[in-house]
């Protein structure tokens, strides 16, 4: 259901992940990892790609890695807005997109996840990833 959602919402083809296995962890966490784990006491099996509680929320790390495969719901930012996004700010955006999660991009780079609704882009970058960038 997670990979189907990515295909449906962003056009990221599910078939792209056939070499890997989807794992469900605690608190609605989903990981994409190697086909077999065959050991107990694993802290994390691969890349955390989404949290799914009420709805599926993709991780920024997933979108950074696979955003280039997406065909829709990509939000292209200007340089000053990209900088503010990376610093962690929410942004007012004039965008004609479906409300929901979007892939934030800047000049061919996939920066991460945001939630778009009624002209407001809510920043979904985890706090630990937010930073100042001088060169972009």
């Amino acid at each position: 259901m997670i990979l189907e959602y990515f295909e449906d919402r962003f056009g990221i083809p599910k078939a792209h992940f056939s070499e890997y296995q989807l794992y469900q962890g605690h608190k609605g966490k989903y990981y994409l990892g190697p086909k077999t784990i065959d050991r107990p006491q694993v802290i994390s099996p691969g890349l955390l790609i989404a949290r799914a509680e009420k709805q599926v929320k993709p991780t920024s790390n997933f979108l950074q890695l696979f955003g280039h495969l997406a065909t829709k719901n990509i939000l292209e930012l200007s340089k000053p807005d990209a900088k503010r996004y990376i610093e962690g700010y929410d942004l007012r955006i004039e965008a004609n997109a479906d409300p929901g999660y979007v892939i934030v991009s800047y000049s061919g780079n996939f920066l991460g996840c945001a939630f778009l609704k009624d002209g407001l882009m809510t920043n979904n970058l985890p706090k630990a990833k937010r930073q100042q960038v001088k060169y972009l």
């Binding site: 802290i43 991780t59 930073q131």
Partner: protein, 300 residues
């Protein structure tokens, strides 16, 4: 300030007048291209576009040095296209690069915070299985963050004492052991203040247990690296010598064209180590303007 006892201990072993002076200079910034997300060609072009001078290392095309302290303030750092890492820390994975490219099961036995794990995952092209283990739960958090940022898909994190690790046969094992860290004093001179010989002996005892266990986890024909960022022979050649006395291990020669390596020492304070430990390499800071390091490549 370098303690006198430290100077006394190493003046002979370091056999080169530049050693102590070098330890008091600042380490240049270095980073590695994360080939999961980028290429060194792309990194060169992008940094040139910013006007940031970077120097590519002749001995490892994915390694760069920069005099600019601001490489952390680039979009490429935010995106995980580069990983800030000491040059010497890149060497263990580099010497077994070919084996990593062909491996299906790899263990990074003491992995946190993941400088080497992220490099190994990239060398494995995100395929096969890489087990990244560390005893310290608080350090696992950083390991997790770094692996996610790097985009590692093939990596499974575990949190166990290596000495009690479940038996499985690995193609490659990377043992980057906990050590007295004398070699990172250029980065963190507080270490000089807390330095004492007693710490060396404690580490040495644990390292001897870890190296034998790591070797037992290797399949027949598999390859392992043992590394530390310290100068003390008790934590280096003596540990490798211990493995040789306990198991049928072979120490391979290491070559890294374009980077000056020194051979392991077979004598230290009345102790003799087996002649094979000469195949281990010592990296003295003054030779390549890096931190200090020790690497052994072991074949089963």
């Amino acid at each position: 300030m370098i303690p006198d006892a430290f100077k006394k201990r190493y003046s002979e072993l370091a056999d080169d007048s530049g050693f102590f002076a070098c330890l008091e200079t600042i380490l240049p910034k270095s980073f590695r291209t994360n080939t999961i997300k980028s290429s060194s060609l792309e990194i060169r072009e992008r940094f040139a576009g910013y006007g940031i001078a970077i120097k590519q290392m002749p001995w490892y095309g994915d390694a760069f040095v920069s005099q600019t302290p601001e490489i952390g303030a680039t979009l490429e750092h935010f995106l995980g296209k580069i990983y800030i890492q000491e040059l010497v820390s890149m060497i263990p994975a580099l010497v077994v690069k070919k084996e990593l490219e062909n491996a299906s099961l790899v263990l990074d036995a003491c992995a946190a915070p993941g400088s080497k794990t992220t490099q190994i995952a990239a060398m494995m092209k995100n395929r096969g299985r890489l087990i990244a283990n560390d005893l310290s739960y608080s350090r696992i958090k950083a390991l997790q963050f770094n692996l996610q940022k790097a985009g590692a898909l093939n990596t499974i994190i575990t949190n166990q004492d290596l000495r009690f690790f479940p038996n499985q046969q690995y193609d490659v094992v990377i043992l980057d052991a906990p050590c007295s860290s004398e070699g990172i004093m250029r980065k963190n001179d507080k270490l000089f203040r807390t330095w004492n010989e007693k710490k060396i002996y404690g580490h040495s005892r644990l390292q001897k247990q870890l190296i034998v266990k790591a070797f037992d986890l290797l399949r027949e024909g598999g390859v392992m690296t043992y590394s530390t960022c310290t100068f003390a022979p008790e934590e280096n050649e003596e540990v490798v010598g211990h493995l040789l006395s306990e198991r049928n291990a072979k120490i391979e020669k290491i070559q890294l064209p374009g980077f000056k390596l020194s051979k392991g020492t077979t004598e230290w304070r009345k102790n003799q180590y087996p002649p094979e430990v000469e195949n281990c390499v010592r990296i003295w800071p003054q030779h390549n303007d890096t931190g200090g390091f020790f690497v052994a490549m072991v074949v089963k």
